[in-house]
Symmetry: C2
Subunit: 501 residues, 2 copies
C-alpha cells in the first residue's frame, strides 16, 4: 500500500481523493445489487456463499441478489446464474466464495460487468506465506485498480450494514445503532456481533477487511470519522499498512468520536499468528501504543473489554464526572471484592457522608449489612427499598457513578425462587427502580450480574440482560470488568480535556 496512492490514480474518480472526501466510500456500504459467486445450496462451511445470500435476504435487502454457480438453477428461491456476465441488470458488489484457482477468471467477469466492489471470502492469498498466493493477491489488486473496482479483503467476511441491508451472518440485527467495528478478523467481527447484540449494542457498520490488500484500516477510519451514522468507532487491527496515513486517520477520528482499539499481535507468539492470519506486520507495540495514547483513543486487550467499552459509551449519557463509585449490592464478601476491584481499576469507593449513612440506616438493619460503601444490603429483593437505597447513595456529592451488583449463589435469584417470588417480575421491578434513580440523580448507573454456570442462573442472567438492554444500562458479568470499563471511560474523558476537546 505504500505505492497505493499512485496506483489509485489509474482508476476512476472514486480513488483520486478518498482522503479528502472520505464519504465517497459510502457506496461500498449501500450496494444496489449483490452477486455471490460460488454459492452452493449446501449450508455450513462448504457453502458459505449461501450463508451470505441468506444473511442478506434476512436483512430485508431490496436490490438485486444473484447467486452465481453454473451447477445450479436456483438457490434459496433465487435464480442462479452460470456466470456473472449472464446477470441481466447491473451488479454493484460481488462476494467471492470460489476456489482460489477460479479467482482471476471471476475478476475478469467483474471487470466486464463493471462492478464497483469485490469482497473475497476466498482465502489462499498472501496470508499463506507462499509465493503463489502473494502474487495472486498482487494481480487481483492491480487488475481491480485498472478497472476502478475496490477490493475488500481478501480472506475476510466483509460488511454488515443495517442501513444498507447487507450482512455477513444470518440472524444479524436489522436495527442500526451508533457503533462501527472495523476488524481485520472475520471471526472477531462475527463474535462481537453475537456478543454485543444481546446486550443492546447496535451497529452502524461492521467491516471485516482481512489482508487489506486494497481498502485498509486508514481509508475505513477516514470514512467512519465522517459517517453521520457512526458515533463510536471500534477497531481490531493486526497490522497497519501505511503508518503516517493511519496516524492522520486515527487522530482525526479520535478528535470527533470515541475510538476503541484492540491490537492483535502484541507479543512474539501473537506476531507470528498475525503473519499466518492476514500477512500483516504487527510492528512495534510500543510505537502503536504511544500513538493510540497520543491521539486520545482507548486501547483494550481483548474482545470482552471492547464490548464493555461499547456498553459504557453507548449507554452512559455522559462520562462519570469523576472516579468515585457508589457500590450497592448484597453480600459482605462481594462488597469487599467490589471495593478491591474498584480500587485496582483506578477508581475509588469513598466512605459515604454521615448524612447519607444515617439516612440509609433508617431502613437498613444493622446486622449483616453495611451502609458505608460498598453498601451491603438485602434490599435487592425489595425493589422499592432498593430504589430508596440507590437514590440516597446517588445523592451523596462524593459519588460520581453507581454500580449495582447482584450474584446468584445465595443471591436474589435463588432466594427469590425459594421464597416463591416471580423472579422475572422481580428483575423487571429492580430495573424499573434503577431507571427512576438514574432519571432523578442524573448520574450514570452500571449493573453487574454474576451468574454461575448453571441453567437456572443463566436463565436469570438472560432476563437481566434483556431488561438492561431495553433500558440502556451497561451490564457486566463481574465487578472487575465493570470497574475497568468505567475507569477507562473516565481516563478517556480526562485525556480529551487534556487535549482541549
Amino acid at each position: 500500500m505504500a505505492k497505493g496512492k499512485d496506483m489509485r490514480k489509474e482508476g476512476d474518480k472514486r480513488f483520486t481523493d478518498s482522503e479528502d472526501d472520505p464519504l465517497a466510500l459510502d457506496y461500498i456500504f449501500h450496494p444496489r445489487s449483490v452477486a455471490v459467486v460460488g454459492a452452493s445450496p449446501q449450508l455450513g462451511f462448504a457453502g458459505v456463499g449461501t450463508s451470505f445470500l441468506f444473511a442478506i435476504q434476512s436483512m430485508g435487502f431490496e436490490g438485486g441478489l444473484y447467486p452465481v454457480n453454473p451447477k445450479h438453477q436456483q438457490i434459496l428461491g433465487l435464480k442462479c446464474y452460470a456466470s456473472l456476465v449472464d446477470i441481466p441488470g447491473p451488479v454493484d458488489h460481488v462476494i467471492f466464495s470460489v476456489p482460489v484457482k477460479a479467482v482471476l477468471d471471476v475478476v475478469e467477469d467483474c471487470v466486464a460487468k463493471k462492478v464497483r466492489s469485490m469482497q473475497f471470502f476466498t482465502a489462499g492469498f498472501s496470508e499463506t506465506g507462499e509465493e503463489e498466493g502473494v502474487e495472486l493477491e498482487r494481480q487481483v489488486v492491480q487488475r481491480a485498480r485498472q478497472a476502478g473496482i475496490r477490493v475488500i479483503g481478501p480472506n475476510c467476511i466483509g460488511i454488515y450494514c443495517p442501513s444498507g441491508k447487507i450482512s455477513f451472518g444470518p440472524g444479524s440485527p436489522r436495527r442500526p445503532g451508533p457503533v462501527a467495528f472495523l476488524s481485520q478478523s472475520g471471526g472477531n467481527a462475527a463474535d462481537l456481533l453475537t456478543t454485543a447484540s444481546p446486550r443492546g449494542i447496535r451497529f452502524s457498520k461492521m467491516v471485516s477487511y482481512g489482508n487489506a490488500a486494497d481498502l485498509n484500516e486508514s481509508e475505513f477510519l477516514e470514512y467512519l470519522a465522517e459517517d453521520p451514522e457512526t458515533k463510536i468507532i471500534s477497531t481490531y487491527i493486526e497490522g497497519v499498512r501505511d503508518g503516517r496515513r493511519f496516524f492522520r486517520a486515527i487522530r482525526r477520528a479520535s478528535a470527533r468520536k470515541p475510538v476503541i482499539v484492540l491490537k492483535g499481535g502484541r507479543t512474539e507468539s501473537g506476531n507470528r499468528a498475525v503473519l499466518s492470519h492476514t500477512a500483516s506486520l504487527a510492528g512495534s507495540l510500543a510505537v502503536f501504543r504511544a500513538l493510540v495514547r497520543q491521539v486520545g483513543a482507548v486501547e483494550v486487550n481483548n474482545l470482552d473489554e471492547l464490548v464493555d467499552m461499547l456498553s459504557v459509551f453507548c449507554f452512559f449519557e455522559r462520562p462519570p464526572a469523576g472516579r468515585r463509585v457508589g457500590v450497592v449490592g448484597g453480600g459482605g464478601g462481594f462488597s469487599v471484592y467490589a471495593a478491591d476491584q474498584v480500587d485496582e481499576a483506578g477508581l475509588k469507593a469513598p466512605a459515604l457522608s454521615r448524612r447519607v449513612q444515617d439516612e440509609l440506616r433508617r431502613f437498613t438493619p444493622v446486622a449483616g449489612t453495611s451502609v458505608r460503601n460498598p453498601v451491603d444490603t438485602m434490599a435487592i429483593l425489595e425493589p422499592a427499598k432498593l430504589a430508596d437505597t440507590l437514590r440516597i447513595v446517588a445523592s451523596d456529592e462524593a459519588v460520581d457513578v453507581l454500580l449495582a451488583h447482584a450474584g446468584f449463589g445465595w443471591g436474589p435469584g435463588r432466594v427469590a425462587s425459594a421464597m416463591g417470588l416471580d423472579v422475572d417480575k422481580l428483575i423487571a421491578a429492580v430495573i424499573d427502580a434503577l431507571v427512576r434513580v438514574r432519571e432523578a440523580a442524573k448520574k450514570p448507573i452500571a449493573v453487574v450480574m454474576h451468574a454461575p454456570p448453571l441453567r437456572e442462573a443463566m436463565e436469570y442472567s438472560l432476563s437481566v440482560q434483556e431488561h438492561c438492554a431495553r433500558q440502556r444500562f451497561p451490564l457486566f458479568p463481574n465487578l472487575s470488568r465493570a470497574a475497568k470499563a468505567i475507569a477507562k471511560m473516565v481516563t478517556w474523558q480526562e485525556m480529551r480535556e487534556d487535549l482541549g476537546r
Copy 2:
C-alpha cells in the same frame, strides 16, 4: 485472639493442643446431631434456619436433626422443639439463626445441653463496629471457652462437608472431592460451590468462618494440612488474627498440598469494606504477599481465578513440564488472540517443528488455516481429524501442554446447527477425541469454550461443561483465563522445585 491461647486452657482438652494435634478438630465436620435454633417454616432470608435444615436433610444426614422454635410444632417434617434443652438426645452442633438479642440465652442452653460447637448465622457482632456488638462477641466466646464449646463465626454460614453429610446450602453436591475452601465470607463460599461444582470440582470441606472470633484461619489451615480427605487447599481471607501462627500454618500446609489464597481487602476501599464485613484488619498487603510467595502458595485476585486454579490442580494429573503451549482451534482472529494471551500470561506458543507442520499440512487445507501454532483449523467439526491434529501437535517435543479452543459466533455450534449436525453428539465426539489424545500423549489438555450471551450458545456451553467435568478437563470461558491458570500452575511447580519439595 492474641489472648486466645491462654483463654483456651480454660476449656476442655479439645483446646489445649490443637496446633500439635490439628486433626482433633475433625468432630466439627462430623457432628452426630445438629440443632437449628430460630428455624421458621418460611423459606428465604427470613427463614434461613430452615434452609440449613433443608440443606442438611438433602445431604442425607442420618443423625438427629432438630428445629428449635417455640412458635412451631413441626418444620420440614421434623419435630420442632421449644428450646434446645427440650431435645431428648445429645446435640453436638448448634446453628444460630436467632435475633442477636436472643443469643446469650441460647448460648446458656448450649452450655446446659453440653453441645460441642456453635455456628452463628446470626450477625450483629463486632462487624457492626458498635460497642454493643463487640462486647456481645466477647461474652459469647468467653462463655463458650469456659464450657469447652468451639465457635464458628459469628456472621457466617458455617460448614459444608459431604463426608459429614452437612451443608449450608440446599442442592449442594453429596459427592465429596479433594478440594477444601476456607472462607471468611459465606457469600464467597456459596458462590464458589455453585460456580465450581458444574465444572466437576468436588469438595472435602468448605468453612465459612465470618468474624473468626474463636476458630480462625490458622486452626482450620492446620487441620486441612493434615486432613486425608483434602488434597488441595483454597482460602478466602480478609484478615489474619495471629500473624505468626498463620505463617506457621500456611507454611506447613503449602509444604504438603497446593494452597491457593484469595486476599480480600487489598486496597484502601477494600480495607474499609473488610472492616464492615468481618471486623478484620486487612493488614499490610505487601507483607501478606511476601509471605504467600515465601511459602510457595498461589495468590489469586478473584473467585474466577480461584476456580480456574482449582480446575487445573484437580484435573491436570501433573503440572505441565514447561511453559510451551500448543494451541488448536478455529478462527484466525481467535488464534492471534490466543497467542497474545498465552504470551502475556508468561507462556509461549512456539512455532511447531518442520516435521509436525508437514504432517498437519497433509490433511489441512492451505487456505484460511495455519499449521504453525496457534494451529487455526476447521477440523473442530470433524472429531477424527481434530484428534489427528491434536495428536500430531502433542507429539512435538516443543509442546508441554495443549489448549483446545472453540467459539460460537461463526464457530462449531452455529455452523453445526446450520449443517443439521447433532451438536450434542458432536461435542461428545470432540471430548472423546481429547480423551484419546491425552491418554496417548501424556500431556495435559485444557479446553476453552467461548460462548456469547445467547440462549442457544449457553445450551452448548452447558453441554461442553458437562462433558469436560465428566472427563476431567479444565474448562475456561476464554483464552486469557486458561493461559493465566496454566502459567500460575507452572510457576507454582517451579517454586516447589526452588524450595526443594
